[in-house]
């Protein structure tokens, strides 16, 4: 477009002055736009960067794609495995759980031992040395995972005892390392990392061979796939090959614990990033619309003049369009800078959280472009009607002052309520009635802020509910003791004799694949004793369920994934021993928020495995005062790998959940407050500029500043208070959507919103609205009475 240079120079000067005149409002709008833009760029940038970093990490350190465990196979089998079509590279290892003795801690600890080839680096699942060096061959040295080293304060050179093949041996930590395979390190049967009690130790192969009688053999294989290979097909071939060596079913990255946890985190981050920013941009568009329509209303005369001078409709419209585009551009620029910076910061936090060895942070340029486009579209949408209205004004009409706003008697006016109100009260009602659309938009803005806040605080309720249901209502034991390997159930008496142990129950977890039609899931079936006091089951309505004598009790998520309902038969394949395959009826579905679970009577599970009397863990009720003595004694039992007390588990869960979620949530809460502030401030300022004359008239008639403020602020207060419950209801709805959207195999976000959450959400919105009302109230107190009254509107 081209304009006569001189005219535009003047118009542009007008534009800058207009902007300066409404700088407070412009700033509030720009802030909301900046928030929207910053969030998109920050979260998407962080997500993209984290995904790229993770992928680069996997690539650089050759994280395998398929994994399988077996009892024992000769090393030469690796050649056959490598020859399976679709296998690119295969690596054989020896892995084993072992109890470890950490001097200075009063509780048992365990590690997952992983062999490193003697003398060189592994082909796959390479480790990243962070300190020290790899172990020397034939020396009692090991590399410790950084998670554990950090938690316990271990550095190279320090020593620890490892119960290697039943014999306590003293090792020196030669190095500290990270691994793409163990970004998250979870002890078997645990929900959350407990780095003080469980970690990864890498030992030279020769030491592992000697300790576990694995000369020339392996019990763990990982492989990568050649491009285009079908993972399920490769897994089937591998399963066939390993069947006679006691292989448990091969699984892909999706079932690999560490990878599954990272993916879950990234998915949740993505969900939040998708749902929340549009709300900000919507509010920004509405604010622009509100301010600009008002400005054009006050500019009627000027518009008439421009037109009388011969400016075209387009020139007039574009003048006002530029106004909003400038505000938007300022908001976008600030948002981009802040977003890029915050994205780096947030990625850093997550890098630390995931312990990625390096960071590949790049702002996501397609996202930049998309965000710019969407914000501009929001600004144009917010401006279009107002700018077109300006263009359409006839010069003669524009230069005449507008007639007084037309009010007519309505039903409300004749109501009793109206007659009981004071005249200022009537003004409030009439004004709301006269501009219902504006009232609706302002109310919606507030409701959106409340909705956002309620949804965000809901996450804290959800974590509380998760903890409460899992650790108090469903599980009643004080501690769970995990064994290094399957043991005979006799161990129960040994545990029961420990100081402070009040009751002991035993359970077994058996790796299995449950299938229904074409659907299948790899899980652990938990075998429990009839009449267990430590485990409660309940259906979706909270009614208690009992453990069936025969058949499966499935958690709701697992039943959903497999499309199973009570009475159906599930094809159950035990993934160890002689890998029996049986059709087991589904007895009932139990509601749980954590993991995928299947429960059976321990005796009937034994019939599937063919190993009656085996257990993998004990549940204990404890005298809380005896806990230290109990743990100290427990440490002396070699078969014990892990112990997790309820208190520790809850702390670990809260820490993990809180860390990853609050990184973003705290941030969004601040933004919710900004929305409430921006909406109320703009509504109040627009109202003030529109009604300055009326309000000044009242002041002249002898109304006090407070009385006048009541009319303006009172109207906003009515809107805010009316909007609060709607916001709460919307928040409830959005919380429901989020709890659904963020559901994963590992966790369901329980959909429960505490009354206090509505209270907190509404209070923050209210405080934020009050702050902006105060600012505007201050302006009312400084109304220039004479200037307002002497001018024609």
């Amino acid at each position: 477009m081209s304009f006569p240079g001189e005219d535009m120079a003047v118009l542009n000067r007008k534009l800058t002055r207009d902007l300066w005149h409404v700088r407070g409002q412009a700033l509030a709008i720009a802030a909301v736009i900046a928030c929207g833009v910053a969030i998109v760029i920050m979260t998407y940038g962080a997500m993209t960067s984290l995904t790229k970093t993770r992928d680069a990490y996997y690539e650089r350190y050759r994280f395998a794609q398929v994994f399988s465990h077996l009892r024992r196979a000769p090393l030469r089998l690796i050649r056959e495995i490598s020859a399976v079509p679709g296998v690119e590279k295969a690596d054989a290892r020896i892995t084993h759980y072992a109890a470890i003795d950490l001097s200075g801690t009063g509780r048992p600890a365990a590690a997952y031992l992983v062999s490193l080839p003697d003398g060189n680096e592994p082909e796959l699942n390479r480790i990243v040395l962070r300190a020290g060096r790899l172990p020397e061959r034939d020396r009692n040295e090991l590399v410790m995972s950084e998670n554990m080293a950090r938690a316990l304060g271990y550095t190279p050179g320090q020593k620890l005892n490892v119960l290697l093949g039943g014999r306590k041996q003293l090792f020196t930590v030669s190095g500290i390392a990270l691994s793409p395979e163990f970004v998250y390190v979870l002890a078997p049967g645990q929900l959350m990392p407990d780095d003080k009690a469980f970690g990864i130790l890498w030992l030279r192969r020769s030491l592992m061979e000697a300790a576990y009688d694995m000369n020339g053999a392996f019990n763990d294989v990982s492989l990568t796939l050649s491009p285009g290979a079908s993972e399920p097909q490769v897994r089937r071939r591998i399963d066939l090959l390993l069947a006679r060596f006691g292989g448990t079913a091969a699984y892909g990255r999706d079932d690999q614990t560490s990878h599954a946890y990272i993916s879950q985190e990234l998915d949740q981050l993505r969900t939040i990033a998708t749902v929340i920013p549009p709300i900000f941009l919507g509010v920004a568009a509405f604010l622009i619309h509100m301010v600009l329509s008002r400005l054009i209303e006050t500019e009627r005369e000027a518009i008439g003049l421009f037109k009388a001078f011969g400016y075209s409709n387009w020139e007039v419209a574009s003048h006002y369009l530029k106004f909003s585009l400038l505000i938007t551009a300022a908001g976008m620029l600030a948002g981009m800078i802040a977003g890029a910076w915050l994205g780096g910061w947030m990625t850093g936090l997550y890098q630390d959280y995931f312990r990625f060895p390096f960071l590949d942070y790049q702002p996501d340029f397609p996202v930049f472009a998309a965000t710019l486009f969407i914000s501009l579209a929001a600004a144009v949408a917010g401006t279009a009607t107002a700018a077109l209205a300006a263009a359409r004004l006839e010069p003669a009409v524009a230069m005449r002052p507008p007639a007084p706003a037309v009010y007519r008697q309505s039903l409300i006016d004749r109501s009793k309520l109206m007659r009981r109100l004071s005249v200022p009260g009537q003004m409030i009602v009439r004004h709301l009635e006269r501009w219902p659309m504006r009232a609706l938009l302002t109310g919606s803005g507030i409701a959106m802020a409340v909705m956002l806040l309620v949804t965000l605080f809901f996450f804290f309720d959800a974590i509380d509910e998760l903890v409460d249901s899992f650790y108090f209502r469903l599980n009643h034991q004080d501690a769970v003791i995990g064994l290094v390997e399957q043991r005979a159930e006799r161990g129960r008496f040994e545990i029961a004799r420990l100081p402070g142990a009040r009751a002991v129950e035993r359970s077994i977890e058996v790796p299995a694949r449950i299938s229904h039609g074409s659907l299948s899931q790899r899980i652990g079936i938990t075998g429990l004793d009839q009449g267990t006091k430590f485990r409660t089951f309940q259906d979706a309505n909270g009614h208690p369920l009992t453990l069936p004598q025969r058949g499966l009790l499935l958690s709701d998520k697992l039943a959903n994934l497999l499309a199973l309902k009570p009475g159906d038969k599930a094809l159950t394949e035990v993934l160890e021993g002689d890998r029996r395959v049986t059709q087991v009826p589904v007895f009932a579905i139990t509601t749980e928020h954590v993991g995928l679970a299947a429960y059976m009577d321990r005796a009937s599970l034994a019939k599937l495995t063919g190993e009656p009397g085996a257990v993998t863990s004990f549940q204990v009720a404890l005298d809380p005062n005896a806990l230290p003595r109990f743990l100290a004694k427990l440490k002396e039992i070699p078969a014990v790998a892990t112990v997790s007390t309820r208190a520790q588990s809850i702390t670990a869960l809260r820490e993990t959940m809180a860390k990853s979620m609050t990184i973003v949530i705290d941030f969004y809460i601040g933004l919710g407050a900004i929305i409430a502030f921006g909406v109320v401030y703009n509504a109040a300022r627009v109202s003030l500029s529109e009604r300055g004359r009326e309000l000044a008239s009242l002041r002249v008639m002898g109304f006090t500043g407070v009385e006048v403020g009541y009319i303006l602020i009172g109207e906003l207060a009515v809107l805010v208070i009316a909007a609060l419950p709607f916001g709460a209801v919307l928040g409830f709805g959005l919380a429901g959507v989020m709890s659904r959207a963020m559901e994963t195999k590992l966790f369901r976000i329980p959909f429960i919103v505490e009354p206090s959450t509505y209270g907190v959400g509404m209070t923050i919105a209210l405080l934020s609205a009050s702050a902006s009302a105060l600012l505007v109230g201050f302006r009312i107190s400084r109304l220039d009475l004479i200037a307002v009254l002497k001018t024609r509107e």
């Binding site: 706003a405 009010y407 007519r408 004071s422 009537q426 003004m427 009439r430 008239s697 008639m701 002898g702």
Partner: protein, 244 residues
């Protein structure tokens, strides 16, 4: 006792103004708006202020009404010194004693005629009813109309009704007919006249219009921030005889 500046005999002054000046700051220079006014305004009189734009009459009226503060001098309303009053006291003063009428009527568009008046009667100590006030200005049958449904003259009369409904001692009118044609203007002036005779309200009317000066008991001519002339009108003409 110092000399009276009312020019009228045997009357008590509602306002007593001495040495009143007002400076406005415009950029770096002080612009004098009032350069020393001495005037007493008597109870119940109709004082017309005449003068060209910028002669200081509006500034003077605003100071009398407690909307503006002088730079120096003395303004007493009965026993009260307006200069000593706080913002809150000035608000109180406006609420209790002063009625304003402006050239642009400044009605609240969301309120009917009755409600516009009720706005004032609700906060006044001894008001008449809105209906009575509107009847005084001849608008009894337009009582439930909104401003948008009234003509300019009618809107101005609502403004007058609103100003007098609290039975103010002082009615301050700044160009009350400035936006009206002659015929409508006369109706508005009649309303002011009526109020002055019925309620004994002291009225101060600013106008450009020399014809209107004929209805005043006195006429003060402003020029250049001073009162250039003060004349007593010995044969006042009723408003309905005026025309321009």
């Amino acid at each position: 006792m110092e000399k009276s500046v009312t020019g009228l005999e045997d009357s008590q002054a509602a306002f007593r103004v001495r040495g009143l000046t007002k400076m406005y700051r415009s950029g770096d220079i002080d612009v004098p708006a009032l350069r020393g006014i001495d005037l007493d305004i008597c109870n119940g009189e109709v004082l017309v202020l005449l003068g060209p734009s910028g002669s200081g009459k509006s500034t003077f009226l605003n100071i009398l009404g407690g909307l503006d503060r002088p730079s120096s001098g003395e303004v007493r309303f009965h026993d009260h010194d307006l200069l000593q009053m706080s913002e809150r006291q000035l608000t109180r003063y406006r609420r209790d004693h002063v009625g304003f009428v402006f050239q642009f009527y400044n009605l609240i568009s969301s309120l009917t005629a009755r409600e516009n008046v009720a706005l004032v009667t609700e906060i006044a100590a001894n008001p008449m009813t809105p209906e009575a006030a509107l009847e005084m200005v001849g608008l009894k049958d337009r009582i439930d109309h909104f401003p948008a449904q009234l003509s300019g003259g009618e809107q101005q009369r609502v403004a007058i009704a609103r100003a007098i409904a609290k039975r103010p001692e002082i009615l301050l009118c700044d160009e009350p007919t400035g936006a009206l044609d002659s015929q409508t203007g006369v109706v508005v002036l009649e309303a002011i006249e009526h109020v002055n005779t019925e309620l004994k309200t002291t009225a101060v009317i600013i106008t450009h219009n020399v014809a209107i000066a004929a209805m005043g008991s006195r006429v003060a001519s402003f020029a250049n921030g001073r009162i250039a002339g003060l004349s007593v009108n010995h044969c006042r003409r009723p408003a309905h005889e005026l025309s321009w």
